[in-house]
Subunit: 455 residues, 2 copies
Amino acid sequence: MNSDRLKVVLDEREIPKQWYNIQADMPNPPPPHISSQTFKTATLEDMTALFPKEALMQEYSRERYIDIPAPVIEEYKKYRCTPLIRAKSFEKALGTNCKIFYKYEGGNATGSHKLNTALPQAFYNKNEGIKRITTETGAGQWGTAIAMACSLYGMECVVYMVRVSYQQKPYRKIFMETFGADVYASPSDNTVIGRNYLKENPNHSGSLGIAISEAVEDAVQREDSHYSLGSVLNHVCLHQTVIGLEAKKQFDVFGEYPDIVIGCHGGGSNFSGIANPFLEDKIRFGKKTRVIAVESAACPTLTKGIYSYDYGDSAKIGPIALMYTLGHDYIPSGIHAGGLRYHGASPLVSSLLNDKLIEAQAYSQQEILEMGLTFGKSEGIIPAPESSHAIMSAAYEAKKADEEGVRKTILFNLSGHGYLDLYAYEKLLSKTLENSDFDAKDMDSALKKLPKINA
Amino acid sequence: MNSDRLKVVLDEREIPKQWYNIQADMPNPPPPHISSQTFKTATLEDMTALFPKEALMQEYSRERYIDIPAPVIEEYKKYRCTPLIRAKSFEKALGTNCKIFYKYEGGNATGSHKLNTALPQAFYNKNEGIKRITTETGAGQWGTAIAMACSLYGMECVVYMVRVSYQQKPYRKIFMETFGADVYASPSDNTVIGRNYLKENPNHSGSLGIAISEAVEDAVQREDSHYSLGSVLNHVCLHQTVIGLEAKKQFDVFGEYPDIVIGCHGGGSNFSGIANPFLEDKIRFGKKTRVIAVESAACPTLTKGIYSYDYGDSAKIGPIALMYTLGHDYIPSGIHAGGLRYHGASPLVSSLLNDKLIEAQAYSQQEILEMGLTFGKSEGIIPAPESSHAIMSAAYEAKKADEEGVRKTILFNLSGHGYLDLYAYEKLLSKTLENSDFDAKDMDSALKKLPKINA
């Protein structure tokens, strides 16, 4: 081990030239998406109303490595490679004997890993003549990233922002607007779906599922528009693998290899980004690495949901996928980690979990924010509440290893900073953090509404 | 020129081991500070009530290179070296033929260059047994940096935050609190000075000069406390030279050398950080580099102030220094670039300007925010309003060179990001930006109150 190194930074020339597609290696790649209109395998026509062809090719590809377009690499160069950092001060704060590393994706313009997929998605759309992208955002990280990518490629961007976030995070809204995006609180007046929800309840606080429905409805209305999703889908997870691919090169420089790889899990893209390149080594070359997806105890899709076909959005107009789900009608409580408030999960991650190639853990809002603060005070980076879930798991695994008398090397993805989410920490510090329980009865009733698919 | 490179990142092993002290080379190093109590040269005893001895040695040193303590380098490793980036997209947006580079200091934990001096200052204080640091903050960048540094070294931190910022920037306050700092709106009830100002006006919006006075009064009351300043002083400017020293190494990799070096100027530390290492080449080796300090037209200390001895703080309890000043009683209008709202200037920068080794420019709030947005949309980083002044100057110089038919290489310091200052851009976008005029009459009357010093 090159033990006097605190971090490894790589030159822009070390940015991967290809993404890693885990579908080439996993025992059970996800089946094709199902149309919510026909209940049959979604055709290319069903999907091209929403997504660019290049992204759809990637969605179903079984090629192991897929080229990153040169113009996207040019944009990656503005902020990649991101650093791999040994968390020595955090280790000291924990009093652990383990070695903890983190890949820091928050240093870029938009403050999170989301830019890694926003750039290629915007690029592919632009190439196909699309002039306008619609999307949803919860915590605001995805909305910021796609707003910036659209600005770089000269496209319009329309963001449906979950109303509770829209109200709680005015800075996120302004941030998107500085990149020229139009931001609407969802449910909104813009769509039939939005108006229906507002009729039910004019103060509806919204959900990710509803915002997705609105963005999809908006996109299909117009020839010049496509919809863009910041997580869940296979091609989105694919784009994020630059994270893990870089991390592997950086571990080579450290002369180390992780025993445990950890990512938080909302829709699955950040987790896939850090995990999949290490899973390649596990599946193909027999590495014994443990890989852990960490979710919110208030939205425990992977740990308490079921593996089934379900709708991706609340209004049931987007594709149906085989995944872990709490039911598309399930509305999780209003936790600060807005990015982890999704009823479903990445089909890729779901299949890997079902095949026991990965594990899942869930932690409460209180404990992750406390650990996030411990991390922030020692390492100096206030983490996004989402990322704090991964930090919590790293601390838990380190403690367990200490108790077992073994010294583990642990890697987690610090997917974003929390400078625009400080409200959550303020609540923690002032001891006014809201309860954020999971309601098993709500899930049971939501699970009764799953679509019946014979695939 | 290595022209296919977009940015040069250097390894943590390339972090400078020594700071560059321009006092060794400048024609007229600043004279010693004057005590505001005795009107004579401030003794070491006068100063050790406020500052650690090591910092005071640096304040008056004429050694060209001063060692950076190894434990400080360890902390620098968490975020240094910072990248030097070619602003190709911004060049394209401007349509310029010039090559524009920026050193990006906003990628670290606290979002600005201020951490470069917060770390050594906290370290020196800790080494001398100090348990508590008091300071002021305007925009909040300095307060955040010193709060984090105190947290890393296990010291208490008390921040007097200019009231108008305290109210406008709740996130900055929470940010400091997450690092365990106590933050008070200034003028406050904590000090005699603060109470006097509040007696005059219970809703006093505060100023940097008043907040400094409060922090100084607080520090001298207690044996265990020192005061810490985020700019102006020679040792603070010294610590920032890591910026320019790294930039020179990075230009070597690019195979370039800047014709023009630009930094914004409030108290002078960020400007000195990028400029002084290039000024060494200019003074010692005859390089023809133009070096430009950029200030706010609402607080035009360098372009409209006079070169004279003046008090550093409004209540006249801190040291007196020879510098450009608008008068210690001058209260600049409430611009969003809070870091540029100081009546005085760095004595180092002032002497260099007086000797015509550097130039000064001033720009209005409207034009710098517009240019900041242009930069953000093309490069993807929303700049702090302070840094946008440097960007404006770079754009101005590029345009001028284009008109003259010459191709210049321009470097500016992007000292911080604007993610916690988005309010300023929101005002610009919604066309509700406040006027921010300079009042020459106010300055004339403030200049009548300068201390009479026979030095």
